[in-house]
Amino acid sequence: MGIEEDNIEIISSIRENAKKLLSEDQVDLVIGYSEGTVPLSSTPVIIRKAEDVDKLTWNNLCYMNLARYLAPLMPQLCDREGNALRIGIVAKGCVARAINLLAVEKQVDLKKITMIGFNCNGIVNRSKIDLEIGEKEILEVVVSGDDIIVKGRDWEKKFPYDQYINELCKVCKVKTPSTTEENCIGECKELESIHDEFSDIDDFEAKSAEEKWDYIKNILEVCTLCYSCRQACPACYCNLCFVDQNKPIWFGKTTEYRDIFTFHLIRATHLAGRCVACGACASVCPVGIDLNFITRKLEKIVKERFDYTSGLDAETLPPMMDFDMKDAQEFMLEED
């Protein structure tokens, strides 16, 4: 089945389930994706009435992780007293992973959340397409058959879908929400663990320390420290981010490489074992920085060291928040 037909089915299941939740008064509202007003985009939207569910869509451009809006809970999702409403949320695999993570970290109350699950078929790599098109305006992007068709004023270009989706989508093993039917309407499948070979970062791993340093510098240099990556990240919910703390100021705020690197290094460390591999950070970067290799490297370290994958269930603590006597401790100095 082609991507296009796939999407038609996904859309109808999302709308049907959203309608059911709203009309049966199981939720107060549904967060989902709606068509974007510019190509290569989509808009997160809140639906409050069953008759509005046709605004919901799915088109492989829904790159935002909707769990972002749950923590901190935005005012639009609360009642007048500031209590959480009952929320339905359109959940691809990585959105569900984020919700599970937030539940483990006690940021959301799963009882108030119903996921509308489906089997995600990937997200278009918008930065890569943007970069390859260059200084021509993209006016329309559609997925048809196995191609992403990009149209401009007097030109058209095809990109093979399987090559031009996000790097993380290419290796994704959690396309459907890993949760129970209690928390989810639509498709879901509980996973205990996943098998991942991380072959996508082999090239990076093969580099020497010096080459890695240069590679990272080259990629991060253009960062404007707008913090879009942080803002789009469902795991970045701190009340006050370390870079924003100003009593005292811990880190420089300029776009000198020193400050850029410090931000990304510390953000990466904070996400170790927590990142849910949704790729939203890379998708939203206004200057097209591909942060995925950093998050994949983090995932790999955590998987190899702790055999842990974030967000597969809503109970297991991420390794950095937990202690286990069986944890490897080869770095300890031996007695005598």
């Binding site: 007003t37 972002r68 935005m74 005012p75 200084e135 404007t224 789009a232 000198e256």
Partner: protein, 353 residues
């Protein structure tokens, strides 16, 4: 005659004429993005671009700017470094919307002459703008709704039109006329060239399809500071600073001191700030009058379409559409403005971008 022709292979020659006297800034491609940078090699200049990712405001108002550096010597403080504000600047290849933004920002940096930001104003005074018309505006552009035009020439010193194989050069200001006179090697423009430029300007204006009733927006903002529409407008916002950082008219900045206690020195820097940040307007008491993203989103719109008109009798938006194109949540300014325009109308009237 004030209209001349610059051949496309003569850009290097033009650069050589002025590079000694001026810091020469031009659009170049850096890691896939068009940005304005001080160039050393005229071959790097990219003129057939849609619009730059980061606006050229960064030339006069860079993202970070060292105000001064100091060293401490026992009890003396020595200010060691201030930038040379007398350096002449040439900004080449600027689009009309961005050229206008320099004027708008000057209002903020002088506030009716009540106080003056010497750094911005001096730099602007020492700047010469060689702009270029937009033959193919983007679908997100709406300059014609906010008083602009893809071929607006008034804010430039010299205006270029891309005629395909060459550029039409028009001297606009006295400064521009003086410069063009120095370029004795430019050939004269023919009647055909002028006609072609006129046609291009007309065609470009037709390409701008977005029309926004800004007058009604401004009027509605006066009376709707508290309105449920702001909940809706801020719904999808994730609170990043992309819109403000890439906005050619956003001028908010923060001043920070970096102190190097070990070496008895430090520096004071001003950096871009954004009203979308949770720290923006956070008071020392801990209170923040713009505590939620609803208030912060509202501030951005109010600033450009209400406070600017009130304070300067001008709109604070040039219609470049950068925020429309860049918003990660696709919180489209055109849609926002139409929602505001439609306040007090029946709900069943559909809001279309």
């Amino acid at each position: 005659m004030d209209q001349k022709i610059l051949k496309k292979d003569q850009i290097g020659k033009l650069y050589n004429e002025f590079a000694g006297e001026y810091d020469f800034y031009a659009p170049i491609k850096e890691k896939g993005n068009i940005v304005f940078e001080k160039i050393e090699n005229p071959e790097d200049i990219v003129l057939d671009y849609l619009n730059s990712k980061v606006p050229p405001k960064s030339v006069l108002f860079p993202q970070e700017e060292v105000l001064f550096e100091y060293t401490l010597d026992e009890k003396n403080v020595e200010i060691t470094d201030r930038q040379n504000l007398d350096q002449k600047i040439l900004i080449f290849g600027v689009r009309p919307c961005d050229a206008y933004s320099f004027e708008l920002m000057a209002n903020f940096f002088s506030f009716h002459g009540d106080w003056e930001d010497e750094i911005y104003l001096k730099k602007k005074e020492n700047s010469t703008i060689i702009g270029i018309g937009c033959n193919t505006p983007r679908s997100t552009c709406f300059c014609t709704s906010v008083g602009g035009n893809p071929f607006k020439k008034g804010d430039m010193d010299i205006f270029l039109t891309d005629l395909g194989d060459k550029y039409l050069v028009e001297a606009i200001s006295d400064k521009g006329k003086e410069m063009v006179q120095k370029l004795t090697w430019l050939s004269d423009a023919s009647k055909n060239d002028l006609k072609k430029a006129e046609e291009l300007a007309k065609k470009a204006e037709e390409l701008i399809v977005t029309k926004i009733d800004v007058d009604t927006v401004v009027k509605n903002l006066e009376t709707n500071f508290e309105h449920p529409v702001w909940d809706e407008i801020s719904e999808s916002c994730i609170g990043c600073g992309s819109c403000a950082y890439l906005c050619p008219t956003c001028t908010c900045f923060d001043v920070i001191d970096e102190t190097d206690h070990y070496n008895n020195r430090g520096r004071r820097i001003r950096i871009w700030d954004t009203c979308q940040s949770c720290l923006y307007t956070l008071e020392t008491s801990g209170h923040n009058p713009r505590d939620t993203k609803i208030q912060r989103c509202r501030n951005r719109i109010m600033h450009k379409f209400s406070y600017y008109p009130t304070n300067y009798d001008l709109l604070g938006c040039v219609g470049c559409g950068r925020c429309v194109a860049v918003c990660p949540a696709n919180n489209d300014l055109r849609v926002i403005l139409n929602k505001i325009k439609n306040i007090e109308k029946k709900e069943d009237e559909k809001v279309v971008a």
